[in-house]
Symmetry: C4
Amino acid sequence: MDTRRAEAFSDGVFAVAITVLVFNLLAINPPVLHYPDLTKAWPSYFAYVVSFLSIGIMWMNHHTMFGHITRVDRPVLVLNLFLLLAIVAIPWPTALVAKQLQHSGGAPAAVTYGLVMILISIGFAGLWIYTVRHAEKLGGQVEPETLRRSIPRFTGGLLAYVAGTIIAAAGLPVVALIIYGVLAVYYLFEHLPAPVEAA
Amino acid sequence: MDTRRAEAFSDGVFAVAITVLVFNLLAINPPVLHYPDLTKAWPSYFAYVVSFLSIGIMWMNHHTMFGHITRVDRPVLVLNLFLLLAIVAIPWPTALVAKQLQHSGGAPAAVTYGLVMILISIGFAGLWIYTVRHAEKLGGQVEPETLRRSIPRFTGGLLAYVAGTIIAAAGLPVVALIIYGVLAVYYLFEHLPAPVEAA
Amino acid sequence: MDTRRAEAFSDGVFAVAITVLVFNLLAINPPVLHYPDLTKAWPSYFAYVVSFLSIGIMWMNHHTMFGHITRVDRPVLVLNLFLLLAIVAIPWPTALVAKQLQHSGGAPAAVTYGLVMILISIGFAGLWIYTVRHAEKLGGQVEPETLRRSIPRFTGGLLAYVAGTIIAAAGLPVVALIIYGVLAVYYLFEHLPAPVEAA
Amino acid sequence: MDTRRAEAFSDGVFAVAITVLVFNLLAINPPVLHYPDLTKAWPSYFAYVVSFLSIGIMWMNHHTMFGHITRVDRPVLVLNLFLLLAIVAIPWPTALVAKQLQHSGGAPAAVTYGLVMILISIGFAGLWIYTVRHAEKLGGQVEPETLRRSIPRFTGGLLAYVAGTIIAAAGLPVVALIIYGVLAVYYLFEHLPAPVEAA
């Protein structure tokens, strides 16, 4: 089977997941709104921007990965499904962080965010490694060299999320959130192949 | 009419339905979050994963079924609509199971889940039987032999959901949920044609 | 411009609007669930099925209408936008009907439902009349005869919704809802061109 | 990379964002519904229509902009992502305006609406200026003259939103909302190239 419908389904899932983030903003609507209500909600804006950019970057990487193949088989569809399962969850830890950051619940919220990002990193790795190993069968033109070059970069992203999660668990959720934000911006301005992308 | 827009519409519906599942996770957000809040919500995670995989597998089967035809007529569109009607409902019994599993409301929740899955199984059967019977008119290359071979497998899936529903109604919702989970995993790793798919 | 992206955007809007209907079901989740809770929610199931089929039929008619043209201009996009504006609203009167039907709020709920359906009928008429009148410019093959034949059928649907709305306003919301349901089923099994479709 | 998946992803995001607006209507559902409940909710209907048309017009402009190019590069995808980030937020100030307009919270609500529209105007400008400047690399046929002609129009739209925001901040939210409504209608009936579009 060609990649067309797998891409259409994935595009749809990415589009809905990224738009669900607005529900965290919709929660900012007190019975009567005063200007301080808008400024004190800064964790919601910060979390919205970081998660939006993160999902957007993931879509770009997904786009690039599928650009390397022309056919999909059952394992690609299943690995893709596991990846989407973790990506669709992002609005949840985003909501936790937005709501809990200024309370004592900030640490478990930032840990949850980090755990979801770790799952996503593993999902991307699984899909990319399978794709590279079965490139010929999938009608792809990925060279083995590409995998070797992309692995260190991918491991770096995964390690940074692991580090952020540990820092959050140690009781520093704001530091962890800054790390997540820097990671999103880092990948945004990345002109070289992103961690899980081919050259 | 060709299958392009029917596939695009269906892909969109699958994508939204699978993403709506995250609203069950978004409900896990107490005023202040403590670590035990995250672990005791395990029925929500379990229900999220099982329903996500179930909808994903249904999309794969749908993908395969439409891969056998090149045109759609009015009955195909109507049968497809009835199938989507049942699939879109999945987030509801999922939310019931996630919330009620640890209470006395677990049995009716698991019964509802099973009833929706039975409706979906019937919907898939209806669409597939029509497709095979009118393969020539739909520009398809499905052989009659394919139907005969796929029917026992389909009946098996339907029967397993009926069994799970009865077990849930008998007051054993956790056993029923395990059966639903096993069914999702079974179809996930199915390398042979899935129940309602062609060879 | 060709019709590709206008169709993709419309398909997406239809897919999300039809899936938003599940939020009416998600509201059926009391603290502890008992079997009578499930049966007494029958207006929700009825409203879900009627609205799902209605939106699905509208998508089919939309599909057919765009099948007649190969290009879109600004007026087509604007008329299409007004049509989608009314269709996206459907989950709201559906929720009103589902919640109010067994209370004294049933009449205004069924009136609202009827008014939205009337707006949609007008939207379909506007788009279809413009399409037929500018068929040549839009690369279409719609014959003038098609318009003349389709107008009586369209007027019939619009008149039936007007009648249902008046009956609802007169204090008979259940009768109105049955009319809406019959209209949905009528169009579902319609093998001839639907009101706003070409032959 | 070609523009296909960037368009599909954007279409999906537009479709979901425009449909999320219905959640503001879904909030109109008191325990028992009386006719006055329906008429006094007029700010919700007004905000729904204005925001729906605004997002729809933005989609049309987006459609036209991408019609000028045949390839996308990383900066186009990133600029597109920032634009979508602001567009997806629209349902939030829409909900604020709908709920606060008849209370003292109307001014901050209308200011928030204006700020989001200003961000979107900047996002469109950024994407369009980049597109025109790198037209050759993107396989586009945009002439430099087009940019010069489109800039005054774009500045006009941005300035009108800035003016509306200032008027809202001065305590006249209804006047600001009328300006936003007029802007939406103005662009709707615009037969000349819209601010950020090419000829």
